[in-house]
Amino acid sequence: MVISPKVIELGEKLRLVCVPAEDFKTSQISISLLVPREINLAENIIIPKYLTYSSRDYPNPAALSARLENLYGAYVSGSVVKRGESSKIELGATCINNKFALYNEDISYETLELLLKLLFEPCADGEKFEKQKFELVKRLKTEDVESEVNDKRQYAFTRMIENMCRDEVFGITKKEILEDMRKTDEASAYRAWRELLQNATVQVNLIGSFNEENSKRLIEKYFSAVERKPLKNETLFVEQAEDVTEVTEEMDINQSKLVIGYRSGMKSKDDNFYAYQMMVDIFGGGPYSRLFMNVREKLSLCYYCSARLYKEKGIIVIQSGIESENRQKALDEIAKQLEIMRKGEFEEKDFEASKTAICDSLRGVCDTPDGIDAFLNTKLDEPIIPLEEIIKNYENVTRQDIIAAANAVTLDTVYMLKGKESGLDE
C-alpha cells in the first residue's frame, strides 16, 4: 500500500504522525516515549503495565476491559523495550475502522481518548500512585521479567549482551534491574511517570480513519498540561572489540545455545547502515545466507543459525542451537564464512538474492497497520523518509560496501548456554 504520512510538530520533540488509510479494517494508535535508559530504569519498566492496568475513569481491570469490549473488542497494550541506550515506553491501541460501527460511533476517536486517559490520568492522588494497585502491578511485572528465563534462546541472548556490554548502559543486567524494581514504590513510580511525560521524545502515530483536526486538538489538550523538558537520547558506540571474551554457563536443557557478539564498527546508528544491514543479511539472514547454507544445510549442525544487526547499538549477534560437542565445529565454520565475506568471496547471486529479498519485503511493509506503525517507530528521533528512498538506498549498495563493512567487524564475545547432558533419553 502506498502511504503518505503527515508529520505535525506539536512542540519540541513532540509530534503527531497521521497516516490516513481507509482500506484497512482497523485503526491503530501508538504513543511512543523515548527516554535515556539509566534514568528511572526500574520505574519505567513498571509504568506501562500500571497505566494499562486501570485508570481514574476505569479504576479496575474489569471496568477497563468492559470499556474495550464496548469499543468492539479494541486492544490496548503497554510495553517497554530497550532501544540503544534508551527506553522506549509505548502505549498502543487497535480498534475497528469506523465504517464497521453498528451505531455510527466514532470508534477511533473514542479509542484515542481512552489511550490518552490511560497515559495522563492514572489512579493517583497527586503525589503517588495507589499503593495497593502499584504493589500488585509491581508483582505482576516482576513475574514477567523473571519468567523471561523460560525462553532459553532469549535468555542466552540476554546473558551474552550482559557479558559483552558489562561496562555500558546497554548491558545493565536483569539481576540489577530486578534489584532496582524491588526498591520502587508508589511515590517513586509516580515521580518517574511525571518525568517521563516531561523528558521524553514523543511520537503519536494515528493510522486509519481519524479526523485529523479533532485528534490533534485532543492530543494537544493533554500535553498542554505538561511542562516539557525533553532530554537528549544518546548511545555509546564501541567501534572495536579489545579482545575476545568467552563465557560458558550450564543449564539443564536439551540443546546448547551458542550466541556470538561482534562490534560492527559503526560509529552511529546511521553510519553506513544499509551496507551493514545487507552484509549481515548475506552472512546470516535469509535461507540464501552463508550461515544457513553452510552451518545448517551443508554441515547439518543446527536447525537455526542466524545473524542480526542491532543498529541502535552497532552490534551484530549470531544465534544458533547446537549439540555442545559441536561448539568448535560451529565456531570454525562461522569464522570461515565471515572470512569469505571479508575477502569478498561470496557469490554474486548471494548478493543479488539479498538485495532482491530486502527490497521485496520492504515494499510490503505498508500492507498492515502494524507494519506502518513499526516503520514509523524506527524513526522516532529523526525525519521520516519515504520507503521508496530506503529501497533506493539498498539498491545503491555495492559489493565493495559489503566487503568494507565485513572488514570493520570485530569479534567481542562468545557465549554458550550449555546443556548439562548430551542427547535425549530416548
Partner: protein, 427 residues
C-alpha cells in the same frame, strides 16, 4: 471461465473467488485492493495426527513413524536440481512452510514477480525428490529442531497436557516426532505418504493480496496436470470419554510454576463446526475473560498473573477447553474454574455477559481481514474444515443465549479434566 464462483460478505465488505481447477485442485483467489504484497499458501490436509491411513480399496492401514508429515515438509524443498530456496532467491520472495496437527502448508509472500513465485511453489510441491542420503542429512537438522522445542516450557506443557487427556488419539504425539521416531523414516515411506496426501483433491491453493484470478489460473494451467482424485480414510482412534491421567507434574528450568488445565470434550463426529467453535469461544470468554469476575478475583488474590490465557482447542477427532498460566497454586485455580463452569451450567450465562462478548468477537472477526497472511491461513483452515471463512460473522449475529447454555452443558464435563504442572528445578 465458467468454473469461477464469487464468494461475498456484505458485512465485511470483502470477497474472493473460488476456482475448481480442471487438475482437481481447489484454488481460492482473494484480491485486496491497493495492497502491494501477496501471500500464498499451498496446503494439504495432512498433519502429525495422520499416522495411520489407507486409500479406498486398500485392506490394511499403513502405519508410519511419528513426525513424518513434518519431515516430508522439510524434504519437499529439495529437488534434483535447484532446491526451492535457491529458486526463490532469484525472485526475492520470502518463503516458508509449517506442519500442524492436521495440515501442512507451503507459503510465500512477495510484492514482485508473483507469477514466477507461483510457478516455483506449484512446481516444487508437486515434484518430490527424496533419496536415502538427503533423508539422513535432514535427520540432523530436524533432530536439533526437536531439541529446541523441547527446551520451550510452553510447548512441553501443551504436550504433557495432551498426553494426559488423550489415551489413543495421535494429537498426543509431538508434531515433529522424536529423535528416535524420525530415525525410522526412509525415502520409500516419504513417497508413500506423499502419494497419498499430496493428491490435488486433498489440497487447496490460496492467494491473497495484490492479485487477480486470471493470473493464478494461467500459471496453474501450465504447472498442474490433471490428477484422479483419491479417497483417503484416516483411522478414527477410539478415545474414551475419560482423561488418561488427571494430574501430571514435571520439572524444568523455569522461573515459577506453570500449569495447563484441559477439559476434554466428548466428540461424536470428527470435526467441530464453525458454529460450535464460535459458541465455545464465547463460553470461555464469559467464564474467565478479562472482564469476568473470576479472572479479576484470581488476579487480585495472586492466584494467577497476566500470563493467564485460554483457548478452545480442536481438530480431527479431538476438542478441549484449555487454560494455561503461572501459579504456585494450580489446584486452586482448577477448583475455581471448575466451580465457575458448574455454576454457569446450573444457572445459565447472563444475557449481559453474552452480549458484551458477542460485541467484542464481532470486532475481532472484522480485524481478522487486514493481514494477507492471516486471511490466507484462515481460508485454508476453513476450506479443510469444509466451511467458508466468512461464516463467522454471520454466526455471531444469529447465535442465541439458549444455544450457548445448551452447548455449555454438553461440551464441558467437569469430571473429564487433566491438570499438568511444570515446577522449577530444585523445588
Amino acid at each position: 471461465m465458467n468454473n469461477v464462483k464469487e464468494i461475498k460478505s456484505e458485512k465485511l465488505k470483502e470477497k474472493y473467488y473460488e476456482i475448481a481447477h480442471p487438475s482437481g485442485l481447489k484454488i481460492m483467489v482473494y484480491p485486496k485492493e491497493n495492497y502491494s504484497s501477496t501471500f500464498v499458501i499451498f496446503g494439504t490436509k495432512y498433519g502429525s495426527i495422520d499416522t495411520q491411513f489407507r486409500l479406498e480399496g486398500e485392506s490394511e492401514y499403513t502405519c508410519v513413524p511419528e513426525g513424518i508429515a513434518h519431515f516430508l515438509e522439510h524434504k519437499l524443498f529439495e529437488s534434483e536440481e535447484l532446491d526451492a530456496f535457491e529458486r526463490y532467491a532469484k525472485t526475492g520472495a520470502s518463503a516458508n512452510a509449517y506442519t500442524s496437527f492436521d495440515r501442512t502448508c507451503y507459503l510465500f509472500s512477495c510484492s514482485k514477480n508473483l507469477e514466477a513465485n507461483l510457478e516455483i511453489l506449484l512446481d516444487f510441491v508437486t515434484h518430490p525428490y527424496f533419496t536415502e542420503a538427503t533423508v539422513e542429512k535432514e535427520q540432523g537438522i530436524i533432530g536439533q529442531e526437536i531439541k529446541m522445542t523441547r527446551d520451550e516450557p510452553a510447548w512441553e506443557l501443551l504436550f504433557s497436557l495432551l498426553r494426559a487427556m488423550y489415551k489413543n488419539h495421535p494429537v498426543r504425539i509431538d508434531i515433529a516426532g522424536t529423535v528416535e521416531s524420525i530415525s525410522h523414516i526412509t525415502a520409500d515411506l516419504l513417497y508413500k505418504c506423499y502419494n497419498t496426501f499430496y493428491n490435488l483433491s486433498n489440497m487447496a491453493f490460496c492467494v491473497v493480496g495484490n492479485v487477480n484470478p486470471d493470473d493464478v489460473v494461467k500459471v496453474a494451467d501450465k504447472a498442474l496436470k490433471k490428477q484422479e482424485p483419491v479417497k483417503i480414510e484416516r483411522k478414527f482412534f477410539e478415545e474414551p470419554k475419560e482423561v488418561n491421567e488427571e494430574y501430571t507434574e514435571l520439572k524444568l528450568p523455569v522461573a515459577s510454576p506453570l500449569f495447563a488445565l484441559g477439559f476434554k470434550e466428548k466428540v461424536d463426529t470428527p470435526e467441530r463446526t464453525n458454529r460450535e467453535i464460535t459458541q465455545s469461544n464465547i463460553i470461555l470468554d464469559v467464564v474467565c475473560g478479562k472482564t469476568s469476575s473470576l479472572y479479576n478475583e484470581m488476579l487480585e488474590s495472586g492466584l494467577i498473573n497476566t500470563s493467564f490465557d485460554f483457548e478452545y482447542f480442536f481438530g480431527f477427532g479431538y476438542a478441549a477447553a484449555i487454560f494455561t498460566g503461572e501459579s504456585d497454586k494450580a489446584r486452586q485455580v482448577k477448583e475455581k474454574i471448575t466451580d465457575r463452569i458448574k455454576y454457569l451450567q446450573q444457572n445459565g450465562i447472563e444475557r449481559e455477559d453474552f452480549e458484551r462478548v458477542r460485541r467484542k468477537l464481532y470486532g475481532r472477526a472484522i480485524m481478522a481481514y487486514n493481514d494477507v497472511d492471516e486471511i490466507a491461513n484462515n481460508m485454508i483452515a476453513s476450506e479443510f474444515a469444509g466451511e467458508c471463512v466468512f461464516d463467522d460473522i454471520e454466526i455471531l449475529e444469529s447465535i442465541t443465549l439458549e444455544e450457548l447454555n445448551e452447548r455449555l452443558v454438553k461440551s464441558i464435563d467437569t469430571e473429564c479434566c487433566s491438570l499438568c504442572v511444570i515446577n522449577p528445578e530444585g523445588e
